[in-house]
Amino acid sequence: MTPQDALQQALNGLSFGALLFILAAGLSLIFGMMDVVNLAHGAFYMLGAYVALSVTRATGSFWAALVIAPLALAVLGLLVEPLLLRRLRGRHLDQVLITIGLSLVIADFIRLRDDWGWGATVRSLPFPAGLDRSISIAGSDYPTYRLFVIAFSAGLALLLYVLHRRSRIGALVRAGVGDAEMLSALGVDTDRLFTVTFAIGAGLAGLAGVVAAPVFGLQPGMDVDALIYSLIVVVVGGLGSLSGSIAGSAVVGPADTFGKVLFPQFALALIFAIMALVLLFRPTGLLGRVRIGR
C-alpha cells in the first residue's frame, strides 16, 4: 500500500466513521433515555433514504431532502412513541420487540411501493450539485462528497455536544439519562421528554439515511446492514453517551475500511473480533456508563 493509497483509505475510513456516528448517535440517545434498543433504527435509516429519493426527484434539490427527510422521520417518531411504546412503559424487552414488528412493516412498505419509485430494485441518489467532483489531495483525486460527509458529521457532533451541555433540553436529557424517575418526581413531563427524544433519534436515523444514500445507494437489506453496524458501534463505544458514539464510530469506521482493503475475506470478522474483545475485557464499551454484561 503506497502512502497515497493509505491516505485515501484513511479518508474513506474517516468518512464511513462519520456516517456511522450520525447513525449511532440516534440509537444511543434513545437507549440512554428510555433503556430501549430501537431495532427499527435501520428501518428508519432506510426510510430516510427513500424519502430523500422522492424529495430529490420532486424538488431537484438534495439540500431540500437533507432537511425534509429527517423531519419526516422525526414526525414518524412523534407518532410511534406515544402510540406504541408508551403503553409498554417499564417493559423494556417488549418495547424492543415492538420495534422489530415496526421494522418488518416499514421494510415491507418500502418494498411494495413500486408506484412511488421505491420497490425492491436498487435505486441511486445522485451526488448534490457542487459536490459531484473530485479534488486533488496529496497527488490523488478524492471525491468532495466524502469530505463533505466528514465535515457535516463533525459539525453535527459539535452541535449535539453544545445542545447536550448548554441547552435546557440537553440538561433535561442528561437528567433523564441519569434518573428518569427522579426527574418525573421533580415535576418534569417525562412522557413528553421521551417522545421528543425518540423523535430526535428517529430524525438522526433519517439524516444518516439521506447522507449515506449518494454513497451507498438504496436497496432492500440496507436496513439490516445499518442496524448491525450501529449496534456494533454502540457496543464498542459504549451505549447512552455521545462520546461513546464518537469513540465507537472512530474505531469501527476506519477498522472496517482498512479491513476490506487489506484482507477482504476477513473484513467482517475483524470488526466482530474488535467487538468481542471489547465485550470480554471492557463490558461497558470504551467510554460507556452502562455495563452490557457481567
Partner: protein, 312 residues
C-alpha cells in the same frame, strides 16, 4: 398424564396418516407439504423457545444455527459423497452445536437486551460468512441440488417418505423437550429466567446453565435446518439471515413462550399467514402488525391466553 400422552399419540398418528386419509381431497398434497414445513419450523421455534420461553434469553440470532445446520448437512453430504441420513443430519446437529458453543460463549456474558443485540450481531457474522464463502456455500446463489437422504437402504426421496421422517423427528424432538423441561435441569433453567441472581446465590453456575441451554437449542435448530435442506433441496443465505431469526421469534411469541405447544401453534399460524394468505395481501406487513398486536395485548401468546381463559 396418561390421558395427555394418549392425546399426543392420537394427534400424531392422525398427522402421520394425513396423506392417506385425506387423499380424496384435491389439495391433499399441497396441505401435506404445508404440514411438513409447519413441523420443521415448529422444531426450530421450539428450540428457540427453550431459550426465550424457558431460560429467559431473548435470542435474535437463532437463524445462525438453523442455517448453519442446513449448510453443514448439505456440505457434509456433498463432500463425503454419501446420502446417508445419519451423516448429513449428524453433521447438521454437530455443526450447529459447535457454532452455538462459539456464539454462546460470548453472548451469555451479556444480560437482557444486550444479549439480544449480541446474538443478532454475531448471527449476522455467520450470515456474512455464508454469503462470502462462495466455494463452500455457493454464496448469494445458495447451495442447490441437495439430495434427500437415505436411511440405510431406504430411500427417502419421495415427498411421502420425507413426510414420515419429518413427523418422526418432530415427535422425537417434542418428547426430548418435554423430558428436558420437566427435569430438574429444566426447572433450573426456569429459575435462571425468574431470578438469576438468586440461582447464583443458591449455588448454580448460571453462566454454564445458560450456555448449555444455548448449545442444546442450537443443536435442535440444526435438526430443523437439516430437515429444511431436504425439504427444499436448497440452502440459501436467507436461512441464516435476520429474517429467519425474527420469524422464529414471532412464532414463539404468537404461540406462547414457555409452553411446549405454543411454538407449534405459532409456527402453524405464521406459515399460514406467509404461505396460504391471499397473495395480494402483504404477508410481512400482516405478520409485523399481528406481532405488535400480540406483544401489546396478549404477551403470553395464543396458548397462554387460551389457558387463562380455561382457568377463568
Amino acid at each position: 398424564m396418561v390421558i395427555r400422552a394418549a392425546m399426543v399419540l392420537a394427534v400424531w398418528l392422525a398427522l402421520v396418516t394425513f396423506p392417506q386419509w385425506s387423499s380424496a381431497w384435491e389439495s391433499s398434497r399441497f396441505a401435506a407439504g404445508i404440514i411438513r414445513q409447519v413441523l420443521i419450523f415448529a422444531i426450530f421455534a421450539s428450540s428457540l423457545n427453550l431459550l426465550v420461553g424457558y431460560t429467559g434469553l431473548p435470542s435474535l440470532g437463532h437463524a445462525a444455527f438453523f442455517g448453519g445446520g442446513a449448510y453443514a448437512a448439505a456440505i457434509a453430504a456433498q463432500r463425503l459423497g454419501t446420502d446417508q441420513l445419519f451423516v448429513s443430519l449428524g453433521a447438521g446437529v454437530i455443526g450447529a452445536a459447535l457454532l452455538a458453543l462459539l456464539i454462546g460463549f460470548l453472548a451469555v456474558r451479556a444480560l437482557g437486551i444486550f444479549f439480544l443485540m449480541l446474538t443478532l450481531a454475531l448471527a449476522q457474522m455467520v450470515f456474512a460468512i455464508a454469503f462470502q464463502a462462495t466455494d463452500l456455500t455457493g454464496g448469494s446463489n445458495g447451495f442447490s441440488g441437495v439430495h434427500r437422504p437415505v436411511l440405510f437402504g431406504l430411500d427417502l426421496g419421495a415427498a411421502s417418505d420425507l413426510y414420515v421422517l419429518v413427523c418422526a423427528i418432530a415427535l422425537s424432538v417434542g418428547l426430548l423437550l418435554w423430558r428436558v423441561t420437566t427435569s430438574t435441569y429444566g426447572r433450573a433453567l426456569v429459575g435462571v429466567r425468574e431470578n438469576e441472581r438468586r440461582m447464583r446465590a443458591i449455588g448454580y453456575d448460571t453462566r454454564t446453565l445458560k450456555l448449555s441451554a444455548f448449545v442444546l437449542a442450537g443443536a435442535l435448530a440444526g435438526v430443523a435446518g437439516a430437515l429444511s435442506s431436504y425439504e427444499f433441496r436448497f440452502v440459501s443465505p436467507n436461512d441464516v439471515a435476520l429474517g429467519t431469526s425474527v420469524t422464529g421469534f414471532v412464532m414463539v411469541l404468537i404461540g406462547g413462550g414457555g409452553t411446549l405447544i405454543g411454538p407449534i401453534v405459532g409456527a402453524a399460524v405464521v406459515l399460514l399467514i406467509e404461505r396460504v394468505l391471499p397473495s395480494q395481501l402483504p404477508a410481512q406487513t400482516v405478520l409485523g402488525i399481528v406481532f405488535i398486536a400480540f406483544v401489546v395485548f396478549a404477551r403470553q401468546g395464543i396458548v397462554g391466553a387460551a389457558r387463562r381463559l380455561a382457568r377463568a
